[in-house]
Amino acid sequence: MRKLFLSHDILMSIDKPARYIGGEFNSVNKNKEDVDIRFCMCFPDVYEIGMSHLGIQILYSMFNSFEDTWCERVYSPWPDLDKIMRDKNIPLFSLESQDPIKEFDFLGITLQYEMCYTNILQVLELSQIPIYSKDRTNEDPIVIGGGPCSYNPEPIADFFDIFYIGEGETKYRELLDLYKVCRKDNYSREEFLYKASMIDGIYVPSLIGVEYNDDRTIKAFVPLKEGVRTSVRKEVETDLNNTFYPTKPIIPFIKATQDRITLEIMRGCPRGCRFCQAGQLYRPIRTRDLDVLKEMARNMIENSGYEELNLSSLSSSDYPELKELINYLIDYCNEKRVNISLPSLRIDAFSLDAMGKVQDIKKSSLTFAPEAGSQRLRNIINKGLTEEQILEGAKLAFLGGWNKVKLYFMLGLPFEEDSDVVAIAELCESIAKLYYETIPKEERKQRVSITASTSFFIPKPFTPFQWAKQFSLEDFRDKAYLTRKSIMEQLNQRSIKYNWHDTDVSVLEGVLARGDRRLSKVIYDAYKNGAIYDAWNDYFKYDTWLNAFKNNDIEISFYTTRERNIDEIFPWDIIDIGVTKEYLKKEWLKAKEGEITLNCMLKCNGCGAAKYGSGKFCFKDQEKQ
């Protein structure tokens, strides 16, 4: 029987000890003597969050399909266990074998959001692996980062040996083979990293130097060894029908945040919203075939026992055979007594019919994400959703029996004016008014309920808004107050509820998102002074961070509210996502003019991602030429 690393007394003294025991259904155990490579995958947040992530499950199934590799998992210990481990000098261990992480060949850390950076340092330190890459020896695991934040890895570059840029399905085999050869021939860590840096998609930050201008912007990236690239191109899985997928997902014992099957129907998004990083990073758009998805759904329902299935993509309404897929899933899931959680779809007769079949109309709500209140601003952000479309959808839904509407907006978008903020309230009012006009008094069972939520916009790398100034904390607050005030002034204000989230964390997220290498020391200092679990409101310590910036003589405004020159070299320019900087520049200038760009399923806009030679929609136009 598997032995646990932690003692009974420790496990009984902490919250949710099942976070640390492994052994879940479909988790993989191998004999460590039978494998050449031990890889530990880490999601640097608590188990319930980490276990909800599809990417790790995909890579876990890929690595464990390799006979010579055993992939295991580790998550951030919760602060209660963190303290015990520090007090008793207990090293962090993996869930499957319960062996110390420091004994592994690789530690792969997924970078899903900027606010997990201090948790990375926690994982390294508790694992007793040197926090800085430069301090590691041949005895330490190779520390690899991947995922969305690896597209600007510079703020955490000093902590990682390698960043894998792009989708993990393509190059890991090559990297592992190189590792085996290097180990057999007794190559040093440095030699392995140098050779690895020649593999497509592999970025070794220690082999690149950064030169700065007097104004602290970047002057140039300099290779520190012969032949090291200063532009690393993202990797893309070109065939989603023939690749790894976790059809036997690990089933957590404790309830994960996403306690359901995730069926990934496509990657990429054709919409080109200018604020959206994922929309650019995951180009070109690629779909899975209908038959493949049907089979995957059946297998995953059989193999998991989950009660719910969820479709995943950036824009499900754009999946070409969505109707067929949903109709099939409704029938099959009904038979298997599995619930379908529908993605947010364009509201029309079909989606309302589907929603009516899978959920209780009285309890469910319809969701719109106009992101901006006015048409002017929606054009600037290229959110192709008009007020007419929203009202039309809402009317259909009201007639179908719905009376709850959720609306999502962003505040602090580039070129936003007070009138755009007030327009949020006016849009809510129009929807409320529409309800009372559409539904006769005697048929109204409840008051219409409209919930408007706002988040603060943070400019992200590789978007047309990467040049934009982020608004200040004070601006953010003023905008939220203005939203609230304008909603209160509406005739139907009692039907409108307004939610907004706190602002401090938005500032820090903005700094880290567009940060450079000089921030590694700030992150280190903040961590050493107690910053951890920054993504959790209860743990976020803004003052600790402010002190860390101050002590390192680094101005937050350099990263957030500063106006960036159109020709500035960005820290993330070392990465090539396929979409060209020229294209993003063009989009930024179009945004200033309020000019829209069409959905790229309708017309190729020449973003550059077509060079991957995949994604049939990107090529429709080119094939014709």
Binding site: R2, L11, A18, G22, F253, N303, S304, E307
Partner: protein, 225 residues
């Protein structure tokens, strides 16, 4: 038609709480593809009832759940089929086709056996026997910041010391007067027990028959293992 499953839980999975064990079996039942009965509506769920929650960290050889079925699977292979969907440390022991007149698992539980492992009982046997032979033992103890006072002898039905330094105690486990296993140890210590209790586990759950005798929950129908 109701099937009563008897299961064991041991090893690393003892750190999974009761609700999560329920969720585990709900999924295992789905994966096994047996024809369980479901409720109607938008989120159908199985008609599943557990006999008695078990505290986190404790092993069991004899816990139970009842599952309502639309039709019966092949009973001779059912235990194997279910165990294919289980993990190390969670194991179906046997299944009973419950008699029509049997109460559900939760309401019929009357008693539980706990097996305590000690380092060395050789000098404490007389003390243990005299503890359990008392007519009454009023004991005050604190759980979750609440102090309770109970006559333990009302809720202790039987005990047996074995040569391998173990002690089995049968206690009240009904919803009205469940006596927690660790309270017995605490009371024994106060009474003067020197031996160290290393661990304990639940070994069986009982209901009572018409004469009031204790009957293991699995014995209320035809048993398959």
């Amino acid at each position: 038609m109701i099937l009563r499953f008897k299961f064991k839980k041991y090893g690393p999975v003892v750190y999974i709480g009761h609700l999560d064990v329920m969720r585990f079996f709900q999924k295992a039942i789905r994966r096994s593809n047996i024809d369980a009965a479901y409720t109607e509506g938008f989120s159908p769920h199985q008609k599943l009832s557990f006999a008695q929650p078990l505290s986190v960290g404790i092993e069991t050889d004899g816990d139970y759940f009842d599952l309502e079925m639309n039709s019966l699977p092949d009973m001779n292979t059912l235990v194997k089929r279910m165990n294919e969907q289980c993990v190390e440390g969670i194991e179906i022991v046997c299944v009973t086709i419950l008699n029509d007149d049997a109460d559900n698992a939760m309401s019929s539980v009357k008693a539980a056996d706990y097996l305590y492992y000690f380092d060395d009982l050789s000098t404490d046997k007389a003390l243990i026997d005299s503890f359990f032979s008392q007519e009454s033992f009023i004991f005050e103890y604190t759980r979750k910041e609440k102090t309770k006072t109970k006559d333990l002898m009302q809720d202790i039905y039987d005990h047996k010391i074995s040569d391998d330094n173990t002690l089995t105690v049968k206690v009240n486990s009904s919803s009205a007067g469940n006596l927690k296993a660790d309270v017995v140890i605490e009371a024994l210590k106060q009474f003067g027990l020197k031996a160290e209790c290393l661990k304990y586990k639940r070994t069986e759950l009982y209901t009572t028959d018409d004469e009031g005798s204790f009957v293991p929950l699995m014995n209320l129908g035809e048993i398959y293992d």
